[in-house]
Each structure stands twice: as structure tokens, then as C-alpha cells.
């Protein structure tokens, strides 16, 4: 695995992802440039889940796009395993709220998309996709086209696609927002288990404060535009942190949620 090889080479104390003084101004040459990302620094450690919450339109998606090199930063640096980022890093799995499944591909062929691009042999990638689909409770749906799947199933196919090339770091942008509560808890638990057991790392953007608290080791609260890290919460809850229902039963859960709510200061724009 190139990602873990990279991690070993870099030594275990090097965080998989580190952003320093990241800024993004849209339309710099224009008359009225928009400063979206103010000045953001943070690190994501191995095996860690960090959530980012912030007011709507504050620049969360922009931040994620900066991190995975989809748009260039105005200033600041992004390091992957201690190396300055060049383009889109290989060991990253990126997932949006929209499932973005290709309608002309079956569930299985959507999952294998990334492997296909990387030139993995057909037999290997099909087998890998079958394993992932089975794990995510989609046994028997491999040959279905997206149009014939429910929203929750589509989202799980998208998650399988994100995981197919075995990314070391997951960058997720409101991936579970479209799911019903039960499905959401299941997929959240699956994802958390995967990250924690296999010592990956995950950055989760969400509007759902309960989701942030139940899943994460740390929650970063962002301010309005130009966005900055307003506060950081280190979440300590009972249990192995792989069961999202259990997390909600911890008495501290409600306190974290209330505190973060207070920080978000929902105000009319």
C-alpha cells in the first residue's frame, strides 16, 4: 500500500495531514475579492476522526477542496505525511453529500471506478468491490444501476467507492446528510469502525452537531466568512467510539452538543 508505505517512511509522529495558515480569496484580480477561508491551521493524526462544523456558507467545502488540491490556495501550505502537497494526493478518499454515482455504471462498476483509473486488474478490482458492497450491506445489488437503488443504498455505494482504493485519509463533506436516522447511525458506525480499527484518519464536515460529537475525537468550530477556527473541542466519551447509539447515552454527550450550539451563534445573514 503506497499510503502506509509513505506513513512508515515519514515516521509515525508525522500527521497524515497538516494545514498551515491556509487562506483562500476568490476573484483576487476582481474589484471586490471574496475572502472565504481566513487563516486556518490544524493537523489530523493517524487513527483520528476530526469533525468540522460551521455556519452555512462559511467555507467548509472550500477548505476541503484546498486540502485535496482541487483548487489552489491563496497562501498557506498543505502537507500530506510531511510532504508539501502537489496536486491531488493519491491516498485520499473524498466524498460529498451528493453521491455522484455515474448513472451508466452499475453499483459494482461505480465502486471500481477509482481502481480502474489506477490500472488495477479487472479481477482484483471486482473482488474488492464485492467485498466492500457485502460489508456495507449491499449483497446482491452489485449489478443494479443507481437509478434502481434507494438514497441510502446509493450513499453506501458512494462510500464503498471512496474506500475501494484503500485510502489512508478520508475527507468527507456532509456524506450522511441525506440519510434517514437509522441508516445514518449504521453507516456512521461502520465508517468509524473502519477508521479506528485500521488506523486511518478522517476529516468530516457536517451540519449535524450530534454526528460531529458522536463520531469525533475533536470538533473544530469555524466562524463566519472569512472563516477561522473559532474553538476546538476534544471529545471524551465512554466506550470504543464505534457505536453511535452508545455515544449518545454518555451524559457528557449533551454538554458537548450544547456548548457547540452556543459557539455557532446562528445569526441571520
Amino acid at each position: 500500500m503506497p499510503s502506509s508505505a509513505l506513513a512508515v517512511a515519514a515516521g509515525h509522529d508525522v500527521p497524515p495531514l497538516r494545514a498551515e495558515a491556509l487562506r483562500k480569496v476568490f476573484g483576487e484580480e476582481d474589484e471586490n475579492p471574496v475572502e472565504v477561508v481566513g487563516d486556518i491551521s490544524f493537523a489530523l493524526a493517524e487513527g483520528e476522526i476530526v469533525s468540522i462544523v460551521g455556519p452555512s456558507g462559511c467555507g467548509k467545502t472550500t477548505l476541503l477542496n484546498l486540502l485535496c488540491g482541487l483548487i489552489p490556495a491563496t497562501s498557506g501550505t498543505v502537507h500530506w505525511y510531511g510532504q508539501p502537497a502537489a496536486g491531488t494526493p493519491k491516498a485520499v478518499g473524498y466524498m460529498l453529500q451528493k453521491d455522484l454515482l455515474l448513472p451508466w455504471r452499475t453499483a459494482l462498476d461505480n465502486v471500481t471506478l477509482g481502481l480502474e483509473i489506477r490500472g488495477v486488474p479487472d479481477g482484483v478490482r471486482r473482488q474488492r468491490a464485492h467485498v466492500l458492497l457485502d460489508q456495507l450491506g449491499l449483497h446482491g445489488f452489485a449489478d443494479h444501476y443507481p437509478a434502481t437503488l434507494s438514497g441510502g443504498m446509493r450513499q453506501r455505494v458512494a462510500l464503498a467507492r471512496t474506500l475501494a482504493h484503500d485510502p489512508h485519509v478520508l475527507l468527507l463533506d456532509e456524506p450522511f446528510a441525506a440519510l434517514d436516522f437509522q441508516t445514518k447511525l449504521l453507516i456512521e458506525s461502520d465508517t468509524a469502525r473502519l477508521v479506528r480499527k485500521e488506523r486511518r484518519a478522517m476529516l468530516l464536515i457536517t451540519h449535524d452537531i450530534e454526528e460531529a460529537v458522536s463520531m469525533s475525537d475533536r470538533v473544530l468550530v469555524l466562524s463566519h466568512r472569512p472563516t477561522q477556527v473559532k474553538s476546538v473541542y476534544t471529545i471524551e466519551l465512554e466506550g470504543d467510539r464505534m457505536d453511535m447509539m452508545a455515544a449518545r447515552h454518555d451524559p457528557r454527550f449533551g454538554d458537548y452538543v450544547a456548548a457547540i450550539w452556543g459557539d455557532l451563534e446562528i445569526r441571520p445573514q
Binding site: 451528493k98 455522484l100 455515474l102 451508466w104 477509482g114 444501476y145
Partner: protein, 258 residues
């Protein structure tokens, strides 16, 4: 639900047949009772007579075949050229912007104005008609496929990039398949355009084909024969669009949600 839809389809068919029969009956009545000149307007029975006659002397099949061949060749050639150009413009925004005025200029030329030149360049046989059909198709095919390519979702492109896709991956695995919908919509339009192009070519100069038959019968004032050849043209258009629809269904199986 299904049953209801079936009944609706049947009802629509009955109405269509009824409308056609009513129109033909009125036409027949008007011309036979001399309310309408049979010489100027023909009559369904005379048209049918000519169809039988053209069938018997083999010209119906032959002319339909000739025009059909010109149309199909022009359709294929125009769509292949137009689609390849339109999709490849996605590759270079710069080139697309350079080409834009030329494409608009080409698209605004009335095809009929090019017919004499095509006859001079390609002769009076098949080639000039295929050229006319191709010209009628190519710009539409180019514009629809380019539009399709440019409409690809930016999020989808970003996703491909995070999966490690190079530009050629994005082109073959995303842009081409996601443009298929627009490309097929273009096919449905251009099958008619190709037929029109072929017939215009035949009008200008030809020895065979449905356009030739229409032109000849028209200049001899044999109006029912004009209509007979027109019926064959319409039948040809319907058959060709049906085939295009079938091919579309075959090539885009994900669109049929059971």
C-alpha cells in the same frame, strides 16, 4: 397502473387512426364530389393507385432504397464528424473559443445554397447527396455533443480527480458517456435533417431517389404521384427514427428503470 397505461396507449392509437381515416375520407369526398379539384389536390384513392403502380414497376422500392442509403450514409458521416469534433472541443477551451464564430457561421448557412456547389464538386450521383445530407447533420451534431460535454457536472469532475483521474480518464469515463443523452437527442433530430439534405440534393440534379420522383412528378403536374412519393418519404423517415430509437435503447440500458 400498468393496465391503465396500456389502455391509454390503446386509446391514443385508436384516436390517431381515427383522425387519419377521417382526414382521408374528407379529402376523398371533397375531391370526388368536385368541391376540391382532383387535378390540383389529388385524392387518396389516386395516390394509392400510384403507390400500387410504383410498387409494381419496382420504382417505389428502388427510389426509397436510394434516398434511404443517401440519408443513412450522410447521417452516419455527419454525426461521426460532428460528434468527434464537438466532444474534442471539450479538451481545449481555447480551441472552442477560437472555433465558436466559425461554427455559428457554418450553422447559419442555408444548406440549399450549398447544393449547386456539392453537385459541381461531387457529381450528380450518390456522393453529392451524401454530402448534402452530411452538411445538414454535421453542425447540429457538433453543437449538441459539445453542449453535452460542457454540461458535465463540475462535482463529478472533481470526484474523478480525487480518484486520480487524468484528463483522458475524465474524457473517456465521464464526458463521453454523460454526453450520450445529448448525442442521442441529436441523432433523433438529425435523422430528419439528413433526409431533407438528401432530398434537396436530389431536387437539384439526380436520376433516381424519392426527391427525384417528387420533382419529376411535380414538373409534369401529376399531383397524386407527388403525394405518393411523399408518403414513401414519410414512411422512410418513420422507419429511420424508429431504428435510431431502438439503437438508443440498446446502448443506454441504464435509462430504463424497471
Amino acid at each position: 397502473m400498468r393496465r391503465y397505461r396500456l389502455r391509454e396507449t390503446a386509446l391514443i392509437l385508436v384516436c390517431q387512426i381515427g383522425l387519419l381515416a377521417g382526414l382521408l375520407a374528407a379529402w376523398e369526398y371533397a375531391t370526388s364530389s368536385s368541391k376540391l379539384s382532383a387535378f390540383l389536390f389529388g385524392s387518396p384513392s389516386a395516390i394509392f393507385g400510384f403507390l400500387v403502380q410504383m410498387w409494381n414497376d419496382g420504382s417505389l422500392i428502388h427510389d426509397t432504397y436510394v434516398t434511404g442509403l443517401e440519408t443513412v450514409l450522410g447521417f452516419l458521416l455527419g454525426n461521426v464528424i460532428g460528434t468527434v469534433l464537438g466532444l474534442s472541443l471539450w479538451y481545449s477551451r481555447f480551441l472552442a473559443r477560437v472555433m465558436q464564430p466559425f461554427i455559428i457561421a457554418l450553422g447559419s448557412i442555408p444548406i440549399i445554397a450549398l447544393a449547386p456547389i456539392m453537385i459541381i464538386w461531387f457529381g450528380t450521383d450518390l456522393a453529392s447527396k451524401v454530402a448534402m445530407a452530411t452538411l445538414s447533420v454535421v453542425v447540429v451534431a457538433l453543437v449538441t455533443s459539445y453542449k453535452g460535454a460542457m454540461n458535465v457536472d463540475q462535482d463529478q469532475i472533481n470526484l474523478m480527480r480525487t480518484l486520480g483521474a487524468a484528463k483522458r480518464h475524465i474524457f473517456t469515463k465521464l464526458v463521453v458517456p454523460s454526453s450520450l443523452g445529448d448525442i442521442f437527442a441529436g441523432f433523433k433530430l438529425t435523422v430528419g435533417f439528413a433526409l431533407i439534405g438528401a432530398i434537396i440534393g436530389e431536387f437539384m440534379s439526380s436520376k433516381e431517389g424519392l426527391g427525384h420522383a417528387i420533382f419529376k412528378a411535380g414538373s409534369l403536374y401529376v399531383i397524386p404521384k407527388v403525394f405518393a412519393a411523399l408518403v414513401a418519404t414519410i414512411a422512410l423517415a418513420l422507419v429511420l427514427s424508429f431504428i435510431v430509437g431502438r439503437i438508443e435503447r440498446l446502448l443506454t440500458p441504464w435509462r430504463q428503470v424497471p
